[in-house]
């Protein structure tokens, strides 16, 4: 579903991404681990066609991202590291707007409230302006937007950043549910524990290169941490 082949991104002489090869099949959760500046966000931006590759190719559901920018985006849901919404609108209004943009004008208010409840946005918070939300609350609305899109592919950039442990746990449960529904999920994260808990594949990135790929079923939490730290030195 999500495929990068020899994907490279140069900024002048700086190689931000170096010949990345990865594949995320439907029903897989691929966790990209790495330090800041390793190329995780660059990878996600390339899948979203926010930036153009310098070499290689990137495709979504078999469609090249560069030559099919709109069609590929329609197949993707995206949760940025910091979900920024329209502060003058309520959580519900933001969800409604982004759902319509995502091609879903059919949702009723009850449907939208259901999405917000599913991500744990408590009580009347949905009717308050997002300008008064905490980071975690905005993150939940971002997750709700991704759910509402019913996309085949999900791109998540540090999605649990700012979430409390309970919310983070609830988010993991959601991811597993989406995985069971056949979504292909690419998640950039620093959270080794969450990557092992929810991911099916872990990719360790360093300085723009994918240095190791692990199947989470074959390693323990301790192994993941040890291998990761070995690559970071």
């Amino acid at each position: 579903m999500l495929e990068a082949t020899g994907l490279t991104k140069m900024y002048g002489s700086f190689r931000a991404l170096d010949a990345l090869n990865l594949r995320v099949a439907p029903g897989e959760i691929y966790c990209l681990l790495g330090a800041n500046g390793a190329g995780k966000t660059t990878t996600i931006n390339l899948f979203l066609n926010f930036i153009a590759p310098s070499a290689g190719s990137v495709s979504v559901d078999g469609l090249d991202v560069v030559s099919h920018p709109l069609e590929t985006k329609r197949r993707l849901a995206y949760i940025p590291e910091t979900v920024m919404l329209y502060g003058n609108l309520t959580g519900l209004e933001n969800l409604a707007y982004f759902a319509r943009l995502g091609g879903h004008s059919e949702y009723t208010e009850a449907d939208l409230r259901g999405f917000l409840a599913r991500v744990g946005l408590q009580g009347d918070a949905a009717d308050r302006r997002v300008g008064a939300y905490s980071k975690g609350m905005r993150q939940k609305v971002g997750v709700a937007i991704a759910l509402a899109k019913r996309a085949k592919g999900l791109l998540l950039d540090e999605p649990t950043s700012g979430l409390d442990p309970k919310a983070s746990n609830e988010f993991s449960a959601l991811l597993l549910q989406l995985q069971s529904e056949g979504a292909a999920i690419l998640m950039a994260t620093h959270d080794l524990f969450r990557a092992k808990e929810t991911g099916t594949v872990i990719g360790i990135m360093r300085e723009g290169r994918l240095v190791q790929q692990l199947s989470t079923g074959e390693v323990s939490h301790a192994d993941v941490e040890r291998i990761y730290l070995e690559h970071m030195h």
Binding site: L48, F50, L85, L101
Partner: protein, 474 residues
């Protein structure tokens, strides 16, 4: 996708207090400006309507004096029967340019060009004046009328509401989430543009029509209504230019604050500096002749003409044999004055011609440079539509010259023939009535500036669209 973004943008704008503040300020300024322009022209019209009161009273008195003498001649004929005395000394006629109601929307050249002349039988230069009234502040800033608000203030409001049209979305972080939904950047920007236009244009139209009502225009008259709609079209095209400029600046991917500074400077250059520069450039390239030089030449020409008065009189009658009378000229003194005037006019004709040519060249320079700034183009279009532009005053001046020739001929023919004025002659003294060309020519005159403004806006948007293809969303 466009409809979704457009509807949301409309809701965002409608929910923003600053937006209503902007529209409210525009409304207040337009109403005040229209009222100011209206009262100014009302005062001018009221004063102008009384201009000929004294002349009419004088003319009636002179006619009555002659009529009394004709009824029962006693003693010498009254001086009122002398065409020389009446035409060259006593009587004049104020040729007045009537302004339509819509003139109050743009004072334009009415501030610097004369709206009336006191026509006499003396040469035209004695009452037209040949010096320019230079009021740099007026020329730069104009009067506080609807045109001022549209040309100076409207761009500020447009820029204030659109300088961060896209940059704020990027800085706030919402742009990435919107773009990830598959919204083309150009669609997003277009929806924002159209939303702003949908909010401001109906208000602008209503305010222009309201301004027309305030200045006393008859909206039931189709021609007047069409004129006001053309004023709105110019305002809309001008607003479109500034909105397009804001969009272009946003396409350069600068910070919102930088956009604001750049657009503020653009306003300063286009609205304040360029118009002043154009005036200065025109005056430097084609300066008006020196007033001292003109006065000196006039005096020298008069003195020379006085010395040659007799010869001039003979030459005058030689040139105008049809005016030679049967007996001795009644008004020999005034005949000498006529001849002297003709000699002086001949002597100073080259300098007057030079002045007119310089003035015409200056106008050509200004006309050519009007497209250096959208503010100049908009102001010129609004002046044309309000009938306060140079073309209107030029037409008035030409009609006054024609009238002056008739007025002068009325008295000079009788002076040369040695005829006395009869009471019935006073009823035949010409009176000036301005033949208005109507509104249609002014709409034609406004068409090119209007097309320039709309075309410039389109070019800026096309440029911005090309830049948005490379715009970094993150």
């Amino acid at each position: 996708m466009f409809r979704i973004v457009f509807a949301q943008e409309l809701r965002n704008l409608a929910g923003a207090r600053t937006w209503w503040g902007i529209l409210g300020l525009l409304a207040v300024l337009i109403v005040l400006a229209a009222a100011n322009g209206g009262s100014r022209f009302a005062r001018m019209a009221e004063g102008a309507s009384r201009l000929n009161d004294d002349e009419t009273t004088l003319q009636r008195g002179l006619r009555d004096a002659v009529a009394r003498y004709e009824a029962g001649p006693q003693g010498d004929p009254p001086s009122a029967s002398s065409p020389g005395n009446v035409g060259l000394s006593l009587l004049g006629h104020y040729a007045r340019l009537p302004f339509p109601a819509l003139a109050a929307l743009s004072v334009g050249q009415a501030d610097v060009q004369p709206g009336y002349y006191r026509v006499t039988a003396k040469p035209a230069y004695t009452f037209t004046g040949v010096s320019e009234i230079q009021n740099p502040l007026t020329q730069v800033l104009g009067s506080f009328d609807l045109a001022f608000v549209l040309v100076f203030v409207l761009p500020i409001l447009i820029v204030a509401s659109s300088f961060d049209l896209l940059s704020r979305e990027k800085e706030a972080g919402t742009l990435a989430l919107v773009a990830a939904q598959g919204v083309r950047l150009r669609t997003l920007v277009l929806a924002k543009i159209v939303a702003r236009a949908a909010m401001i244009l109906p208000v602008l139209l209503a305010l222009v029509l309201l301004a027309g009502v305030i200045v006393g225009a008859d909206l039931a008259d189709a021609d007047t209504l069409l004129q006001l709609l053309t004023v709105f079209a110019v305002a809309a095209a001008y607003a479109a230019f500034w909105l397009a400029l804001a969009v272009l600046v946003n396409s350069l991917d600068w910070r919102s604050e930088t956009n604001g500074v750049v657009l503020a400077n653009a306003w300063l250059v286009f609205v304040v500096v360029m118009p002043a520069f154009v005036n200065v450039a025109a005056s430097m390239l084609y300066p008006a002749p020196s007033r001292v030089e003109l006065t000196t030449e006039l005096r020298e020409a008069s003195e020379a003409a006085d010395r040659e008065a007799a010869q001039a009189r003979d030459a005058y009658l030689f040139d105008h044999p049809e005016l030679a009378g049967a007996g001795a000229p009644l008004d020999e003194f005034y005949l000498k004055v006529l001849a002297s005037d003709a000699a002086v006019e001949k002597a100073i004709a080259p300098i007057l011609r030079r002045f007119e040519e310089q003035a015409a060249s200056r106008e050509r320079v200004v006309a050519g440079l009007r497209y250096a700034s959208p503010a100049i183009a908009a102001q010129e279009a609004l002046n044309a539509l309000a009938a306060t532009d140079n073309a209107r005053f030029g037409d008035f001046s030409r009609q006054v010259q024609d009238f002056h020739a008739r007025w002068r001929a009325f008295f000079s023919a009788r002076i040369a023939r040695g005829e006395r004025l009869r009471a019935t002659d006073f009823d035949a003294i010409p009176a000036f009535e301005y033949r208005s060309p109507g509104y249609a020519p002014s709409r034609q005159a406004a068409a090119l500036p209007l097309a320039f403004l709309a075309g410039s806006a389109a070019l800026l948007l096309a440029w911005a669209a090309a830049r948005f293809r490379r715009y970094p969303v993150v």
